[in-house]
């Protein structure tokens, strides 16, 4: 039975629950927008990275380089699209 629950994945799950709880602080505590959004950004990206490495085994094959480049490129383009659009529509309109 024990071998079915590898310590790495159990820890990963526990850690993701903790991160969710930390993110919930922005709801329960009264904090500034900047502080809140910083916490959310941190917890979200750490948790996404956790999934990628611990659960999805992104780095287990020889194609590691290509897979990670693909994901990083996606994130780069995604962030530029989001922030570029925000610049056009909200911050500089």
């Amino acid at each position: 039975m024990k071998e079915l629950f590898p310590i790495k994945q159990v820890m990963g799950f526990v850690f993701s629950l903790i991160l969710t709880a930390v993110a919930l602080l922005v709801y329960f505590l009264d904090m500034s927008f900047t502080a809140g959004i910083t916490i959310l950004l941190l917890t979200a990206f750490v948790q996404a990275g956790l999934q990628l490495v611990v659960f999805m085994h992104a780095g287990e094959t020889e194609d590691k380089g290509a897979i990670y480049s693909n994901v990083y490129f996606g994130i780069l383009v995604a962030l530029v699209t989001i922030f570029g659009t925000l610049l056009i529509f909200l911050w500089d309109m």
Partner: protein
């Protein structure tokens, strides 16, 4: 009767009825012809169900040429309408429809399948692979594209064409201002074709990364393969934006959501924004493979290795990222502030740098080369100066302050035709001439070919250079007519003549195909151009399995070095070869997609639900299907090889 009324044309005219009759007659003629010659079985077995990348490539080519004809007729109609002031040839509504379909057809249903043809036909051969990574998916990609294109093209005889421009900006494309189903066609036909394109992107990235011949490192891939890789990378990240955007547009039109409405919190400008988040990378999707083809052609006919291989690759990688950083230059005048405009202005000017690097590399490749002016090379030589001109006017447009003068004028129209025609179209025609012998076993006539190039460049210069001038003088794009007093008339007449000359050059291309089918010599060998890369190392015509023995590669110019230094590329003995099975599923599923799209466009919900279930049924069938492909036995390969060698 009410049910059928929706299929009527909202703005009928003689031209539309005439083409309706023409389409009907052609359709009947094709069906009768196939039946008379008993070719239905052949068509089904060898083409409709094929998963062979070469055949799928050729089907892309045929579609692209057909669409080139359709888009070209649209173009001639537009120029004819503008040739004289206050012309009554097309009324405004019809003019709107024609410039809309001209843009969509040329970009999405002509240029895209044309580059897909090159990806499909060339890339696996160039990297020494036997097929693409997912042959079945490749067939789905093609058929989805094809059904999307057909769906879009029936719009002008059933229900009415889209008329809000190829950019289909809201609120113009919304229900308030576009009351016919035309814009539904736009949303749904492009959606279906776009899904196919996205799958092609995934397929070719995987193919290029994982299926290269033994020994071929990434930095030893031929330049066209590099350009295909980068172009597909951009496809994978740009097309999902289009998917979301079209879905939002569809929902606004069919389900009354409030995305792009004026009131209720809608934002019509978000359409323009997201359209260009996809649209700008899209132009690099088209131009990079064109650059790749010119790199192959220039180095082949200058008889020199490509100058600056590494900087060529680096500049394409930089372009792939930067193509996503510049989109707002398409709407500098939309109302955002100076900060945003400055940012996008600077990134746009910066992207000219890697493109400039490539131009210089081509020039340095030519330097001290033994240049041979074949037809493909002549296209390349016309491309260099004309494209540079287009690039320079692009930098003019990149300046956001100055753009307030150029925006939405003929200057812009001249600019983008100036990069797309000498860039993409010349590359496609040069590549077509270059790869023609590999596909069909004979060359296109060189003499007619060179006439085509010269006529095309003459026509191009006459058609588009005048537009720069009328644009600066204030002639707006998409205006169906103008008055005598504007003074635009003489230059527009020149442009019309230029368009006519271009039409003649395309007709000459068709004549060249006819002429060469009849008169070209057939025994041309495997390598008629004395070329450099692996696709010329295998037989002509290329056997089903591409290479009997996997090639061993040591350098960028594998085949050239093998010819020069006499080392053997095909080492080892023939073994049985695993090949994928043909399947009718991609074709059938895409047909159901066509029905689904059609019923969505006309809001025929029961049929939409049934066909959606049909599509899901195809997916389930595929999931449970057992298909392990088949082996070609050694004896059969040896037979084929002997026959092909004998035919030489």
């Amino acid at each position: 009767m009410d049910f059928f009324n929706r299929f009527a044309i909202p703005h009928p005219s003689f031209l539309i009825y005439a083409s309706m009759v023409a389409i009907g007659l052609t359709g009947i003629a094709v069906i009768l012809g196939i039946t008379y010659f008993k070719k239905w079985g052949y068509l089904w077995r060898e083409w409709l169900t094929t998963v062979d990348h070469k055949r799928i490539g050729i089907m892309y080519l045929i579609s692209a040429l057909l669409m080139l004809f359709r888009g070209g007729v649209d173009a001639i109609m537009l120029r004819a309408q503008l040739a004289i002031p206050d012309n009554k040839f097309l009324e405004s509504q019809h003019y709107n429809e024609v410039f809309t379909t001209h843009g969509v057809v040329m970009i999405l249903f002509m240029a895209m399948p044309f580059i897909m043809f090159f990806f499909n036909f060339v890339v696996p051969l160039q990297i020494g692979a036997r097929d693409v990574a997912f042959p079945r998916l490749n067939a789905i990609s093609f058929w989805l594209f094809f059904m999307g294109a057909m769906l879009f093209n029936i719009s002008f005889v059933i229900g009415g064409s889209p008329d809000a421009g190829w950019t289909s900006y809201f609120p113009l494309a919304g229900n308030d201002f576009s009351t016919s189903v035309g814009s539904n066609y736009y949303m749904i036909a492009i959606q279906i074709a776009g899904i196919g394109t996205l799958m092609t992107g995934i397929n070719f990235i995987t193919t290029i990364f994982k299926m290269r011949a033994p020994g071929m490192k990434l930095m030893q891939m031929p330049m066209f393969t590099w350009s295909a890789l980068i172009s597909n990378l951009i496809i994978v990240f740009a097309f999902p934006v289009l998917t979301v955007l079209l879905a939002m547009g569809t929902m606004d039109r069919l389900f009354d959501t409030k995305f792009f409405t004026i009131g209720d919190g809608g934002s019509d400008m978000l359409w323009a924004n997201l359209f260009w988040v996809w649209g700008h990378p899209e132009v690099y999707i088209l131009i990079l493979p064109a650059f790749g083809l010119f790199s192959e052609i220039i180095s082949t006919f200058a008889r020199r290795n490509l100058y600056g291989y590494k900087s060529m690759v680096a500049s394409m990688v930089v372009i792939s990222a930067f193509s996503f950083f510049v989109w707002a230059h398409h709407f500098f005048t939309m109302g955002q502030g100076a900060l945003a405009n400055s940012f996008f202005s600077i990134t746009t000017m910066a992207i000219a740098v890697p493109t400039g690097v490539k131009i210089f590399n081509w020039l340095f490749t030519l330097w001290k080369g033994k240049i041979e002016f074949t037809t493909p090379m002549l296209y390349a030589m016309h491309f260099l100066p004309l494209f540079t001109l287009g690039g320079v006017t692009g930098v003019m447009l990149a300046m956001s302050a100055a753009d307030y003068q150029y925006h939405n004028t003929m200057f812009l129209v001249a600019h983008f035709h100036n990069v797309i025609i000498p860039g993409v179209v010349y590359a496609m025609l040069a590549g077509l001439t270059y790869y023609w012998p590999k596909m069909f076993g004979f060359m296109l006539n060189e003499r007619i070919g060179k006439w085509t190039v010269w006529l095309m460049s003459t026509g191009f210069i006459l058609a588009f250079i005048p537009m720069y001038i009328t644009g600066l003088d204030g002639q707006a794009r998409r205006m169906y007519t103008y008055s005598e007093a504007t003074g635009f008339a003489p230059l527009n007449m020149v442009a019309f003549i230029g368009a006519g000359i271009m039409a003649i050059s395309f007709a000459l291309l068709v004549y060249n195909i006819y002429y060469s089918v009849r008169y070209s010599p057939r025994n041309i060998g495997n390598d008629p151009w004395n070329a450099r890369t692996l696709e010329w190392a295998t037989h002509t015509p290329v056997p089903e399995y591409n290479f009997a023995v996997m090639p061993q590669v040591k350098s960028t110019e594998a085949f050239w070095d093998a010819k020069k230094h006499g080392h053997e590329i095909f080492k080892g003995k023939i073994e049985k070869i695993h090949m994928p099975n043909s399947s009718g599923l991609p074709f059938i599923m895409s047909c159901i997609f066509f029905v689904f799209g059609f019923s969505m466009i006309f809001s025929i919900w029961p049929l939409a639900i049934i066909s959606l279930l049909g599509i899901l049924g195809c997916l389930v069938y595929r999931s449970f299907e057992k298909d392990h492909g088949h082996y070609i036995p050694v004896e059969e390969i040896e037979d084929t090889e002997t026959k092909l060698r004998g035919a030489k």
